[in-house]
């Protein structure tokens, strides 16, 4: 079976439509992030989160109403699927309340069993993050993201040349920004949590690594072909490189997409946001390798006007 054998799309020529698409997506994402914001998880915001199991199905809104008076604060209540121990139902309760964990936990459990007699609520998962600890996690994640981008830029620059480095990093910013934008746009619209927590940051960094993977394979081919077809115009050489690697790009993205979708479906509630970020990231990352990273190199090349410089191998 073969796909894209002898592919000959004018991908470099149609890069303008790529710019329009990417530009629109970035504007939409920025707009969403500015207007709708990003919902931070308790890792970065601090607070308490309980997963409460009950023997009967409880309405999230009803539980929220019942707990608001008990806690004197409005908790977030969501259904938490896939617990399924003996067919019991579970809710995720997030509260901004401060105080002793044990006290708040008792209030939550008591509040639910008072409002819904016979529901036999039990806490099966607790996450408590103090404000200062949250601050540290936030800082650590920021450093991790910036550090990765810097290391990647330096590496690609060393192995290729600065235009490639810039192209790769531009594509990475593009990917992370649009994934964040999609998170911002979709939050509240889909039935699982899209809060930004440590796992999502890990997913972003994986997207960064993955998207780079595709980009580097194309760059590697450009590097090879520029030495091989010295007489041809740069754009033609780049276009040929993208086309010959296209089948590999699509197949690897395909297998990766298959496994992250598997994770999304079977990995459970804990991994849902994480694998969702990966699904979006793989799609955007593949697209950006062809339509962002490579065109940036082409543009930079035609601007700086330098002839095909010998590139290190």
């Amino acid at each position: 079976m073969r796909i894209f054998e002898n592919a000959d799309f004018n991908l470099v020529g149609s890069r303008k439509s790529g710019y329009i698409l990417s530009g629109t997506l970035i504007l939409l994402s920025l707009g969403a992030i500015v207007t709708r914001g990003l919902e931070l998880g308790i890792d970065f915001r601090g607070g308490m989160e309980f997963v409460v199991e009950s023997s009967q199905v409880l309405e999230a809104t009803a539980v929220r109403a019942a707990l608001t008076s008990v806690l004197e604060a409005t908790p977030e209540v969501k259904t938490y699927s896939d617990v399924g121990a003996g067919g019991r139902d579970a809710l995720l309760i997030r509260t901004p309340s401060e105080g002793e964990t044990t006290e708040i936990q008792t209030m939550v459990v008591q509040g639910i069993s008072d409002a819904f007699p016979g529901s036999d609520p039990q806490v099966i998962k607790t996450d408590v993050v103090g404000p200062r600890f949250a601050e540290d996690l936030k800082r650590g994640s920021l450093y991790a993201v910036l550090g990765s981008l810097l290391v990647i830029f330096l590496y690609v620059m060393l192995r290729f040349e600065w235009r490639f480095g810039l192209g790769a990093v531009a594509a990475l910013f593009h990917d992370v920004l649009i994934t964040l934008g999609i998170f911002s746009l979709l939050q509240g619209l889909i039935p699982f949590s899209l809060q930004i927590d440590q796992a999502i940051i890990a997913a972003f960094l994986t997207i960064v690594g993955y998207s780079l993977n595709d980009t580097v394979v194309i760059f590697d081919r450009i590097r090879e072909y520029t030495n091989l077809f010295k007489t041809e115009p740069y754009k033609t050489v780049v276009n040929r490189s993208v086309n010959t690697t296209l089948s590999r790009t699509v197949i690897t993205s395909g297998t990766t997409l298959l496994v992250v979708t598997t994770l999304f479906i079977f990995g459970g509630e804990v991994l849902r946001g994480f694998s969702f970020a990966l699904i979006i990231g793989v799609i955007i990352g593949t697209y950006s390798s062809v339509f962002v990273a490579t065109p940036v190199v082409v543009e930079l090349h035609s601007r700086s006007g330098s002839a095909t410089r010998a590139v290190r191998r």
Partner: protein, 628 residues
């Protein structure tokens, strides 16, 4: 085929290594299956008989993260602000408090330690001021430079963490959790992991709060021994009355005959095996001590909960000498196998609070060179101490921190003047431990819980199943896809994929890493990405075939031309893994580890292993391998 000997050797070597590291985990799996099939009693017996084997399997098995087995993860922070305040004591003034508050605020938003922030703020406020006016100790005098004071504060901070660790370790030990892990994180945090714990309320209340240090008198050995005898026989009668098996009755008669005559402890120790059969509930868990001691007996680590429950009986409590309660010794006496904790009889009333201690340090006897502990007290404490030691010559005084006895030296004579020595210590380590404890009287290090994550055991099972299902489904999908798309070549890539997973697990077990749910996600992701190297190679092989080359030449060309892209693409992802590992915590580190292990393993299996197979098939056997 030439030059492949080394590659074949490498593959066999790494496979054998992985198998070696994974073997205990496999044994652990079969052990768990066997234990689950047993009844409660069989299980206890089996665990006791095979203690060292089970311990070694557990130690060498692939560790499961708390998210997969349920348990509690707690991060605690030592209150350095209070510590600095305490160190300055009465020398504090308004300026000091202001600087400290500013430093505390700064250390919360910047990645700077409180001590550094404090010194920095202080110098910013008045570059000529000297920090030494607030602190005084052996090493700090009026003339000490600010740098020396900083050094001193840092050392005090490290000590405080150590003291907090000590206290936490003991509180955790008392909890009776198997395989707890307690580690420092950074300069002021302590991470405690308690697998399998499902009553977080108890853990929370046990872990927080400042530890209290005090000096207590101990029970009179004679009185204690008769109490011990009474309690033992209490449990004997109790059990015999409730059990109506004939066998037990017979044994009981023998036992009664024995306890009518004088109660010989050494005899009893020798007979513990037999007594087990009788089912004396107390002797099941306690090895009674000999006469003439303040020691009640010894209890093994896993029996502490059972022992506590037996002793909690109000009737039993009433049999203890007046005002006496039982406390564990902080130091287990472990010969081999499970650790045993001595149980000591300590007076309830604190004679002198640890706050009286002003200093403690390790010293050596000038003549014998034995380690000893020097302890100094303030004048008020020295007065009480003098009276206390004077009235209790030749008796023991227990040093109790947080309900645990750290040492119970015998008073050799009245000590006046506030300077005491504790001698006859087994080792320098013991002396250091005692100093740490004594100092916590002078400088308590309050800890607070700043992060807590608890996963119930049922949720752990769900996560484990979810992880396993994703892994299997992901694997099957990718394996099928590769065969459909690349035919023969795809099959070789699939073999590489399986070997790859064995390598990843082997690396994890070998480096004693912990497998978490995000870690499993990392493996699943690796499955998707691992075939990439082979996809790159196969696509190249197809290209080479397209130019009309022979199969052998195409394979050669495919491998050599794809290599640079494979290496470049993987190194960058590996960098991301390193960064994730250094900044992430807990489960995220688990993800980073499997991601990195996956890259290494997949590079090896996709480049080296598949090449061997192709070389063997195409050149060695002249077979034709299709690439779809």
């Amino acid at each position: 085929m030439q030059g492949n000997g080394f590659k074949v050797g490498a593959v066999i070597f790494f496979l054998a290594l992985s198998a070696w590291y994974l073997f205990p985990s496999l044994r652990g799996l079969s052990l768990n299956n066997r234990l689950e099939g047993m009844s409660q009693e069989e299980r206890v017996d089996y665990e006791r008989d095979n203690f060292s084997m089970i311990e070694s399997i557990k130690e060498k098995s692939l560790n499961l993260g708390l998210d997969l087995q349920g348990g509690m993860h707690i991060t605690m922070e030592v209150g350095l602000r209070q510590l600095i305040s305490e160190l300055a004591g009465e020398r504090r003034d308004e300026a000091f408090d202001e600087v400290l508050a500013a430093a505390d605020a700064r250390s919360q938003v910047e990645s700077v330690s409180l001590i550094d922030a404090f010194v920095d703020e202080f110098e910013n406020r008045d570059p000529d001021a000297s920090l030494s006016r607030y602190f005084r100790s052996e090493v700090i005098t009026r003339r000490s430079s600010n740098a020396e004071v900083t050094e001193y504060l840092r050392a005090q901070g490290t000590d405080a963490i150590e003291r907090a660790m000590q206290v936490i370790r003991n509180r955790v030990d008392r909890f009776g959790v198997t395989e707890p892990s307690i580690q420092t994180q950074g300069s002021r945090r302590i991470v405690v992991e308690l697998p399998g714990v499902d009553d977080p309320e108890r853990v929370r209340s046990l872990l927080k709060g400042t530890a209290r240090l005090g000096f207590h008198l101990m029970a009179d050995p004679g009185e204690l021994n008769s109490s011990l005898q009474r309690i033992i026989s209490y449990y004997e009668v109790d059990v015999a009355a409730s059990a109506d098996s004939v066998e037990a009755d017979e044994e009981e008669i023998n036992e009664e005959a024995e306890s009518d005559t004088s109660f010989d402890v050494s005899q009893l120790l020798a007979d513990t095996e037999d007594l087990d059969d009788v089912g004396n509930a107390l002797l099941d868990v306690l090895i009674p001590a000999g006469q003439g001691s303040v020691v009640f007996g010894q209890v093994s680590v896993q029996d502490t909960a059972a022992f506590n429950a037996l002793m909690a009986d109000p009737e039993v409590q009433a049999m203890l000498p007046r005002d006496i309660e039982l406390r564990y010794d902080a130091n287990p006496s472990s010969a081999s196998g499970p650790e045993y904790f001595p149980v000591l009889a300590v007076n309830r009333n604190m004679e002198l609070s640890g706050e009286a201690i002003t200093d403690a340090r390790v010293d050596f006897d000038p003549t014998t060179n034995q380690p000893l502990v020097d302890m100094e007290m303030n004048s008020e404490g020295a007065r009480i101490w003098s009276r206390l030691t004077g009235a209790n010559v030749d008796k023991n005084i227990a040093i109790v921190l947080d309900g645990v006895v750290y040492s119970y030296p015998t008073v050799l004579g009245q000590i006046s003047g506030g300077r005491s020595q504790i001698t006859s210590l087994a080792s320098q380590a013991e002396a250091e431990d005692i100093v740490t404890v004594l100092k916590s009287g002078a400088l308590p290090a309050p800890v607070e819980i700043v992060e807590e994550r608890t996963v119930g055991p049922s949720l752990g099972v769900v996560a484990r199943k979810a992880g396993f299902t994703s892994l299997m489904v992901g694997l099957v999908i990718v394996v099928l896809f590769m065969i459909v798309y690349y035919r023969g070549g795809g099959m070789v890539a699939d073999m590489a994929l399986i070997i790859n997973i064995i390598f990843i697990l082997g690396i994890l077990a070998g480096f004693n890493a912990t497998l978490t749910l995000p870690g499993i996600a990392g493996i699943v992701l690796t499955i998707g990405m691992a075939v990439d190297a082979n996809v790159l190679i196969f696509e190249r092989v197809r290209e080479e075939q397209g130019t009309g080359k022979t199969l052998k030449a195409s394979i050669d060309g495919g491998y050599s031309k794809a290599l640079s892209a494979i290496i470049d693409a993987n190194i960058t992802t590996f960098f991301v893994g390193i960064i994730l590992y250094s900044f992430g915590v807990g489960p995220i580190q688990g993800f980073a580890v499997t991601l990195m292990a996956g890259i290494l393993a997949s590079l090896f299996s996709a480049i080296v292993f598949t090449r061997i197979i192709f070389d063997y098939a195409v050149i060695g056997r002249r077979m034709s391998v299709g690439f779809g």
